[in-house]
Amino acid sequence: MSQYHYNPALNARDEVYDAAGTMKEHWRYLMESLEAMGPEAYQRRHEKALRILRDDGATYNIYTEQDSPVHTWKLDLIPSVIASDEWAAIEAGLQERAELFDLLLKDIYGPRDLIRTGVIPPEALFCHPGFLRPCQGISVPGNHQLILHSVDLMRDGSGDMCVLNDRTQAPSGAGYALENRTVMSRVLPSIFRDSHVHRLALYFQTLRATVANLCTTQDQPRVVILTPGTHNETYFEHAYLANYLGFHLVQSGDLVVRNGFVWMKALEGLSRVDVILRRVDDWFCDPVELRSDSQLGVPHLLDVARTGRVVIANPLGAGILESPIFLKYLPAISQALIGRPLRLKTVKTLWLGDGKDYQQVVSNLDQWVIKPISRSMGLTSQCGALLSNQEKSTLLEAIQAAPHKYVAQPMMSASNIPTFQDGEVVPRPGLLRSFAVASNTSYSVMPGGLTRVGVTENAFIISNQTGSQSKDTWVVASEPERIVTNLPGPDSALPMRDAELISLPSRVVENLFWMGRYAERTESVLRLMRTVFVMFSGEEVVSSDCRRILLNSVTELTATKPGFIDCDKEILYAPESELFRVVTDSQLAGSVRSNLNAMLYCADESKELLSSDTLRVINDIHDALSELDMGLTSAFGSAPEEALDPLVTALMALSGLAQESMLRGMGWRFMQMGRRLERAMQTTTLIRNILVKEVDVTDQNMLIQALLLTLENLISYRRRYRGRMGVQSSLDLVVLDTSNPRSLLYQLEQLSTHVKALPKASETRHELRLEERTALEAETLIRMMQLRTMCLREEGQRIHLDQTLAQLTDVLGSLSQYISDRYFAHKTPSQQLVTPTWGSQ
C-alpha cells in the first residue's frame, strides 16, 4: 500500500468513509484517480499548482508577521467533494438563511420590532459595538438589503451540516475560491472534467449583475471595489475580483464626496461613482459619522448613501449581523420573521449577557469555546479545555467584568477531509465557507465554496491567519450538468463606457509612472555597476583619476552621497564594501534594493492592471532580489558583474512586456513617461560626471568606453568610428542620434509625444500646457546643441557641456513636478473639527 493511500482517523467523522468504513460513492472516482496517479505525479502537479498560484500573485497577508507578511496562497490539491443531492439541501438552507438575515437587517435599522416584541432583549442589540446608529434608515434599491451573505459550515457529530457563524461585513473568500478552481482545472484537468463539477461562473455573473443593478439611475453605472489597501490580508482577492468582474479597484484616498455625490479621482478629473462594493469594514467608512479616527474612510460617504446617490454593498451597518448573540435567539427570530424554523442547523450558542447562560458557562468552562461578540474588540476565541488554570481565571475575570461581550459555543470537531501534508495524505478537520449573493427573487449560492482545513488533526481554530490550507470544493453531479453560458445576454448589465478605458484612478496612474521611473533608475544603476566591475577587473590598468570619476558617477547616479565623493585613495582601490552597500542596503535611499522595493510597491498598488506575464516577471525580480546578497558576496572575488545579470534581465523583460503587451491606454503612457524621464535624467547625470572633466588621453578613452558600455552603445560606436574614441563623436551618438533608443534626444522626443497625448480640456486644445512647453523646452535645448561648443574646455572643464546638461536636469525636474501636479491626486491632510476626548466606540 503506498503512502498515498488515505487512512481515516479512528473515532472521528470522515467525509470519505462512512461509519462502517465504506467509501462514499461520490468520493470514489477522485480517490481512485489520485491513487492511480501515484506519489511522484501528484508531487509534480502540486509543484505546478504552487507555481501557478505564485505567478498569479495569489497571496495572503498574515498580520502578526512583521517582516514578511506576504504568503503564497495555500491550496491542497485534494478537493472537498459534496454530492449534488446533498448540496441541493444545503443550498436551499443557505438561501433561506440569507433571506432571514436580510429581514433581520431590515428590522435592525428599521422598526426594531424584534426588540419591541421581546424576541431579542434590548441589550443584545443596543450594547453591540457593531450596531451603527447613524445607519438607521439607509435603504438599498431592490428586494434585498443584504447583498452578500456568507457562512462558515462544518459537519457536526451527527453528520449534519451546521452553521458556525455568518459573515456579512465584507465577506471574503469568493475570489480565492475562484482562483482555487482555476488552478485545479489546469493542474488536474482530466479528473476535474470527468467529475462533472458544478461551475462557479453563474455565481459571479449574478454578483456582477446584482451589483450593477443596485444603481437605478444610470444605464452603465460605474462600480468600484473599495479596498483598505495593499497591506490588507486579502488584497490579492480585491484586485483579482476587480479584474474578473471588470470593476475599478479603489482605495479610500481615490474617492471623494463633492456636491452630494461620490467621485473617483481620475486622470481626466472626477468620475462619478454609482456603486461601491466595499471591502472596508463599515465603522471605518466615514470619519464624519462613524469612527472619527479612521484613515480608511471617505468623509460624508454615509450621508451620500443615505440620500441614495451612491449604493454601498453590503450596506453600511450590515456588520451587526455577524454578532453571535443573534445565534442564540435565531429560532425565535426565525419564527417571528418567516414563521418557521430554519432548515439548516446552527451551532448551539449561549450568551453570557443572559443570567442563566452565564451560570451554565462559568460553572463548567471546559465544555465551551468562548468567543467575543464582535471581531472589532481585539479578542480571540478561547477554548476552555485547552486553557491553563491561570489562563482560565484571567478569562473568567474578563467575562465577569463584561459578560455581555462574550458568547459560548460547545467544543465541536469537524469531520475530516483527506489532505496532502508533508508527503502524506492525512485526515484534517475541514470548514466550508459558502457565498450567497442577492438575485432578483432570492439568493444565488456559489456551488461549493471555499474549504479550509486545520493545520493539525485536532486543530480547533481553522483560519488562514493560523496558516490553514485551502481546498477547492467540488459539488459533483450524478448526471452531466446543464451548460451555463458564459456569454453575456443581449441586455447584459455592463457594456463598456467609452470613457472607461482611460478612466483610471489617479493613484494607479501615479504608481505606474513611478514604477517606470524606479525600474529605469535601477536598470541604469545596474548597468553602470556592471561597467565598473568589468573595467576594474579588466586587463587594462585603471588610473586613480579614472577610478575616482567612475566611482563618483556611481554615487551621483544613485544619489547616495557622500559615498565615493572625496573618499580616501585607498578606497578607490578597495571599493567593494561601498559598492556592495549601494546595491544591497535596503535602508540606504537610492540603493538598488531600495529602488526595487519602491518599484515592487508601485506594482502592488497597480496590480489589477498588470498582465499575468508581468506578474511572473515581478516574481522573478522578487527572486533575484532575495538572492542578490548571496550572489554578490560569493562573486566579489571573480566576475561580480554576473551576480547582477539576473536582475538586469528581469528588468529588461519588464520593459519589453510593457512595450509588447500593454494596452496603449493612459496607464501605459504614464509608465512610459516615467521611463523616458528617468532615462533622460540618468543619462544626463552620467554624461556630466564622465565627460565634463578634462583628463589625459588614455583616461579619456577609457571613460568614453565606460560611458558607451553603460549605455549599451559601445558596439555601435566601434562599428561607426573604428575604435577611435572621441568626445565629439561619442556625444553625437549618445546625445543627438535619434536612431539610438538610448540617446538623450530619443528620450526627449518620446517624452514630448506622450505629454502631448495626455487628456486636456477642450477649450484650450491648441494652447500648449505647461508640461508640454517644458517638454518642448527640454527637447529644444538638446536639439540646439553644437557639439564643437560642447567640447570646448576652460580650466580643465567642458564648461558648456556642463551648463547645458545642468540646465536640462533642472528642466526635467520641473517637468516631473508639473506632471505630478496636474495629474496625480494630492492628499490634503484632514482633521476633526472637534477632537473627541472620548474613545471611539
Binding site: 434590548p122 441589550e123 456636491n259 460624508h300 484632514s830 473627541p836 474613545g839
Partner: protein
C-alpha cells in the same frame, strides 16, 4: 410659550480651510411638549451641498459641505418654537417607588420600557461605575417615589457642585467630574445620567436652550442666552421626565429642546472633518432666546 431662538456658531481658523464636511444638530426637534414651527439654517461661506434628515434618535440632522477656501465658518440657526410645560399624572412624591420601578424594568415587556433600556447602558462618554452608584444611592431608597428621589438628586448636584464655565472641556471623564465637584451644565447632565444608569434607571441627555431673564431694571443683552443641557429620566408610570441639575428644577416651558441622545456625542451641535485650518480654531457661540407674543 412661543420663542424665537437664534443660535450662531462661529469657527475662526488660523489657516485656510479648503474644504469641509460637517454635521450640525442645531434644528430643534418636535416633542410631546414642544413644536418647532419654523426653522432656517444659514451657513457662511455658502454650502456646496446640504441635506436634512431625521437621525436615529429622531433629531433633525443637518449635513453640509463647503468647497470654497475660508478662514471663518459661521452657522446660524433661527427657529420659531412653541413649548409647553411637562405634564405629570401624579405629584412627584406620589408616583411609583424606586423599588417598584426597578422591578418593572427587570420584568416588563411593554414596548416603551423595552425601548427605554437603550438609555440604560454605557455610551461613548458615560461609563457607569461603582463610585457613581454610591454617590446617588442614599437618595434612592426602595420605598421612595422615584421622581421624588430624582428631584432630590437634582438638588444635591446643584448644592454640592460648583458651576464653573472654564473648568472643563466637553467629555471630561465622569470620575474626574465627581472628584472635583465642578463643571458646566454638560458635565452635570452626564454625571446625573451616569448615576441614574448605575442605579438601573434609564436616562437621556437633552441639549437645548433656556430663556434667561435680565436682572431687574436692565435691558436683556443679545446673545447672552446659552446653549444648555439637562437630562430626562424614564419613570415607568410617567414616561420620560426632564430635570435640570444646573438649575435644580423640574424642566419647564422655558427649556427649549434641540436634540436628545445617549450623551453629548450623539447630539454635538457641530462636528465634521476639515481640510487645513491649522491648530486649535477659536469657537464663538451666541444664543438668543426671545419670547414672542
Amino acid at each position: 410659550m412661543r420663542y424665537r431662538v437664534t443660535h450662531i456658531t462661529e469657527y475662526l481658523y488660523h489657516e485656510p480651510v479648503s474644504h469641509c464636511f460637517n454635521l450640525a444638530n442645531v434644528i430643534p426637534r418636535s416633542t410631546k411638549r414642544q413644536r418647532c414651527t419654523n426653522n432656517r439654517v444659514t451657513v457662511e461661506p455658502a454650502v456646496a451641498s446640504c441635506s436634512q434628515s431625521e437621525d436615529y434618535f429622531g433629531n433633525m440632522a443637518y449635513h453640509f459641505e463647503i468647497q470654497r477656501s475660508h478662514k471663518k465658518l459661521s452657522i446660524c440657526s433661527e427657529s420659531d418654537i412653541k413649548t409647553g410645560p411637562q405634564t405629570l399624572l401624579m405629584e412627584l412624591d406620589q408616583g411609583i417607588t424606586c423599588g417598584d420601578a426597578l422591578a418593572h424594568m427587570a420584568t416588563s415587556t411593554d414596548v416603551e420600557t423595552l425601548m427605554a433600556k437603550e438609555y440604560l447602558f454605557n455610551s461613548p462618554i458615560i461609563q457607569s461605575n461603582e463610585a457613581l452608584k454610591a454617590y446617588a444611592l442614599p437618595l434612592f431608597a426602595e420605598d421612595r417615589p422615584l421622581l421624588d428621589a430624582v428631584m432630590a438628586f437634582t438638588q444635591q448636584i446643584f448644592d454640592e457642585f460648583t458651576y464653573c464655565p472654564k473648568s472643563t472641556h466637553i467629555g471630561t471623564p465622569l470620575p474626574e467630574v465627581l472628584e472635583k465637584k465642578r463643571g458646566v451644565c454638560q458635565d452635570f447632565a452626564h454625571l446625573q445620567i451616569g448615576c441614574l444608569r448605575a442605579l438601573g434607571f434609564p436616562a437621556k441627555y437633552v441639549s437645548g436652550y433656556i430663556e434667561t431673564l435680565p436682572p431687574p431694571g436692565k435691558e436683556k443683552l443679545v446673545g447672552s442666552d446659552a446653549s444648555h443641557a439637562w437630562i430626562s429620566v424614564y419613570c415607568p408610570s410617567e414616561g420620560w421626565i426632564e430635570f435640570d441639575p444646573t438649575n435644580r428644577c423640574l424642566v419647564g416651558e422655558q427649556h427649549i429642546i434641540t436634540a436628545w441622545g445617549r450623551d453629548y456625542s450623539d447630539v454635538a451641535p457641530l462636528k465634521g472633518v476639515i481640510y487645513g485650518g491649522g491648530e486649535a480654531p477659536i469657537m464663538n457661540v451666541s444664543v438668543d432666546v426671545t419670547q414672542v407674543e
